[in-house]
């Protein structure tokens, strides 16, 4: 029995429309919302790391799907649920790909929650008008869900091979609860234990902390991809919903790690594993179905047709790496960050400030690079710090290429992990 497109849209839409929220009380005091004082314990080396996977899971292939496959394959990860958000694609289309991918991977035990279908404030029409008014935006050729061929939020297209059809709904279907509520409930039930992977716009997370600010200290780490210093300061996940990003980045999470676009640019899918052996070739040669099929169809064949095809940087794969094996990243820095939410040409740009801006390096005291010398001036004269509400985050700055590519190829080629 297979699910038709019409049936699929009805079940997903119905699930969202009828979702009933039974939020458990944290506290029933006269004026509730006391923040539970729970010590945050780092994940234990022996136990599996509990993770909520929040993603704009745009299929059939690409950085979103590869991040998903890594999390599904990693033995040390306990994937509590997948929450979806409109970003690279519309949420319902992502739901179709995600449910079917889990079916193909034999992992139908993982619940999938429908999340925000629209950004908080940003709209497709205003994005297009901003480009006309201020000039084109580097992200215009992408635009994710807002791109014309993606239609509207209910336009779910059939799934191409190897997906072929929608998931059998009697086997796996979308959950009733909204993603934000699942995040709240899960963080409260597992204080200090649930890491949040956020690979898309941060709308679901922003809604969760607006409804329940008490979960912020209960989440040991949030890892996102977006923002940048050098390559670009504007990145899709942030520009698609700048207000959500600002809200989430400003919250006082115990640890908030960022894969910047600068870091993600350092490794591309088509890169070599070792000289003469490409990651893709290795995976196609050794991986099992359906991973091998996906790489064959969406990486090997496009490259065969056009060897100049530039496969994408490994953005979401790096978030997965930070969750699965943080030792992949050899350097990071605590920095202040904020997002420009003025609806102008810089809508969604990221801005960074050094955590130790008051200890401005002076020549003779500490080595100062030429680039730093342009930034740092006499602190007695100028204010160099962040704006009053900027968030303090952990910016990942160096990746161990060898360790990362080996981790990636290992996860893609090992036997498909069982439920």
């Amino acid at each position: 029995m297979t699910t038709t497109r019409r049936e699929f849209i009805r079940t997903v839409g119905g699930a969202i429309a009828s979702s009933q929220m039974a939020l458990e009380a944290t506290e029933t005091g006269a004026v509730a919302a006391a923040i539970p004082n729970v010590p945050v314990t780092p994940p234990q080396g022996s136990g599996r790391r509990k993770v909520i996977y929040d993603q704009d899971n745009s299929g059939p292939f690409g950085t979103d799907i590869l991040g998903t496959l890594m999390m599904l394959q990693a033995d040390n990860i306990d994937l509590l649920g997948i929450t979806l958000v409109t970003g690279d694609a519309w949420m319902k289309q992502e739901m179709a790909f995600t449910l079917r991918l889990l079916e193909m991977m034999g992992r139908t035990e993982i619940p999938v929650y429908p999340g925000a279908e629209f950004p908080m404030l940003n709209t497709k029409e205003e994005w297009l008008l901003r480009s006309q008014l201020y000039g084109g935006h580097r992200l215009d050729p992408w635009m994710g869900a807002f791109n014309r061929p993606n239609g509207g939020p209910d336009d779910v297209q059939p799934l191409p091979p190897p997906y072929v059809r929608f998931a059998d709904s009697s086997n796996i279907k979308a959950q009733q609860d909204h993603a934000a509520r699942f995040i709240i409930k899960t963080a409260r039930e597992n204080p200090g234990q649930v890491t949040i992977y956020a690979g898309g716009p941060l709308t679901n997370l922003a809604l969760a902390i607006a409804l329940a600010p008490d979960i912020v200290p209960l989440v040991p780490e949030v890892v996102i991809m977006g923002t940048g210093f050098h390559t670009f300061t504007n990145t899709f996940n942030i520009c698609f919903d700048p207000e959500a990003a600002r809200k989430v980045l400003r919250a006082p999470w115990p640890k908030f790690s960022i894969v910047t676009v600068d870091l993600a640019e350092e490794i591309h899918e088509a890169d070599a594993l070792t000289p003469g052996r490409s990651m893709i070739g290795e995976i196609v040669a050794r991986a099992q179905s359906p991973i091998a099929d996906l790489f064959q169809r969406y990486a090997v064949e496009p490259l065969k047709r056009d060897p100049s095809t530039r496969l994408f940087r490994m953005a979401d794969e790096m978030i997965a790496a930070q969750v699965i094996d943080p030792a992949v990243f050899t350097k990071s820095e605590q920095m202040y960050v904020d997002i420009c939410c003025t609806p102008g040409p810089r809508y969604g740009d990221a801005m960074f400030w050094h955590k130790n801006w008051q200890e401005v390096p002076n020549e003779g005291k500490q080595p100062v690079s030429a680039a730093d010398r342009r930034i740092f001036v006499d602190p007695r004269q100028f204010y160099l710090g962040p704006p009053p509400s900027a968030g303090l985050v952990n910016v990942l700055q160096e990746v161990d290429r060898n360790r990362f590519t080996n981790l990636f190829v290992d996860l893609m080629t090992k036997p498909i992990r069982k439920a």
């Binding site: 969202i16 029933t28 006269a30 919302a33 908080m120 008008l129 207000e243 939410c341």
Partner: protein, 380 residues
């Protein structure tokens, strides 16, 4: 439905009442979302009006930070319900902070761009310098005297709003007397509630007196989301209209102090009559939230509305939270002139019905009657 196309065709100036006064058997189901400032303010007085009105079925009170921090407002709301003997009305604590705006930035914007002018329009609610912080909880003065034994519900206000509107499709009136943070969260989490909400009544924004009001510029992003959402009917009480009636007009306060029952008499004696007697120069506040309550209780006292488009400025500068209005008939305006077809609204602007006149005499009658009648008993 108006169909003629003249420039003012959409405004139903002093139209006759749309319906006969509602009989108690068909009470209007209402969710009361409020930045509930105690001990007595336009917020609290509107609460008293809705508690006293026979034709209102008050399904719940939601609080939202603005005039005060949510915790303190919730404490006032709970104790007021105890004093009024209305413990059956559930109280839900809502957003404790705006979606994005922060106290530090609000203060800094005023330094950089100057405060909003026009008398007290620079008001920042609990974001004022001496406004304390989120978790502060001050004792309640007499006649409140102590914290309530009544507890707030564990559910967040936004979830209560979603659940209730879904349970009563096309029946719920949302009264939003503070920033629309709770309503915006509800609409983002559950867009399906928007078309099945009977009416949203909101106080804020202005065309003349000031271009904005604290309920909008305290949380501009929430206002933008809520205004753009597409409710079947969104009624707006502007500052322009609210300015037409002030609390001390017509010696209302003295009459209420003399004729009201406890605890209403004591509240008005301590917090309206006494301050006025101590300082005769005091300018008593306009009655915005009382007007919203009056609209919920008896819409016929308002003399029609203008259909307009509305949008909110969210640039983080001196205009953060300004309200922009456009005539719903912009495409018909200035026909035959070079201005024709040029006054269009922003591409995503929302539609609102801007109340434009109030029958002051009837408003006063309704208000004084509600404040002086015997205190309403709890629903059985």
């Amino acid at each position: 439905m108006e169909t003629s196309s003249g420039p003012l065709a959409h405004s139903a100036m002093f139209s006759p009442p749309e319906q006969a006064p509602v009989a108690p058997s068909v009470k209007k189901k209402l969710i009361y979302d409020q930045d509930h400032r105690g001990p007595l303010s336009t917020d609290t007085v509107a609460t008293l009006m809705l508690l006293q009105a026979d034709n209102i079925d008050l399904l719940g009170i939601c609080t939202v930070t603005c005039d005060m921090w949510g915790r303190q407002e919730t404490a006032y709301a709970l104790r007021l319900l105890e004093l009024m003997g209305r413990k059956e009305v559930p109280v839900y604590m809502g957003a404790q902070e705006p979606l994005l705006n922060t106290k530090a930035e609000a203060q800094m914007r005023y330094q950089m761009f100057g405060s909003r002018t026009l008398g007290n329009e620079g008001y920042l609610g609990c974001f004022a310098k001496d406004g304390g912080s989120r978790d502060d909880l001050e004792p309640l003065p007499p006649p409140y005297s102590r914290f309530a034994q009544l507890k707030a519900q564990p559910e967040p206000a936004a979830d209560f709003i979603i659940r209730t509107i879904r349970a009563h499709p096309n029946e719920i009136t949302m009264y939003c007397g503070g920033p629309m943070t709770n309503l915006a969260l509800a609409a983002m989490l559950a867009p399906d509630i928007v078309p099945i909400t009977k009416e949203v009544i909101f106080m804020g924004g202005g065309l003349h007196h000031s271009t904005s009001s604290v309920n909008v510029y305290f949380d501009p992003e929430a206002a933008k989301i809520a205004f753009r959402a597409g409710w079947p009917k969104l009624t707006l009480v502007t500052t322009d209209l609210a300015e037409q009636v002030h609390m001390q007009d017509d010696a209302k306060v003295d009459y209420i102090v003399d004729h009201a029952h406890a605890p209403i008499d004591e509240l008005f004696r301590r917090f309206e009559q006494k301050p006025q007697r101590d300082n005769p120069q005091r300018q008593s506040f306009r009655m915005p939230d009382e007007m919203m309550a009056a609209h919920a209780i008896d819409p016929s006292i308002f003399g029609g509305f203008d259909e307009m488009y509305i949008d909110i400025v969210t640039h983080n500068d001196g205009h953060y939270g300004d309200t922009l209005f456009w005539d719903a008939n912009w495409s018909d305006a200035n026909k035959g002139t070079p201005l024709a077809g040029q006054n269009n609204p922003s591409i995503k602007a929302g539609r609102v019905e801007v109340l434009k006149a109030i029958d002051k005499k009837r408003f006063r009658e309704i208000f004084v009657d509600l404040m002086t009648r015997p205190v309403n008993q709890a629903k059985s």
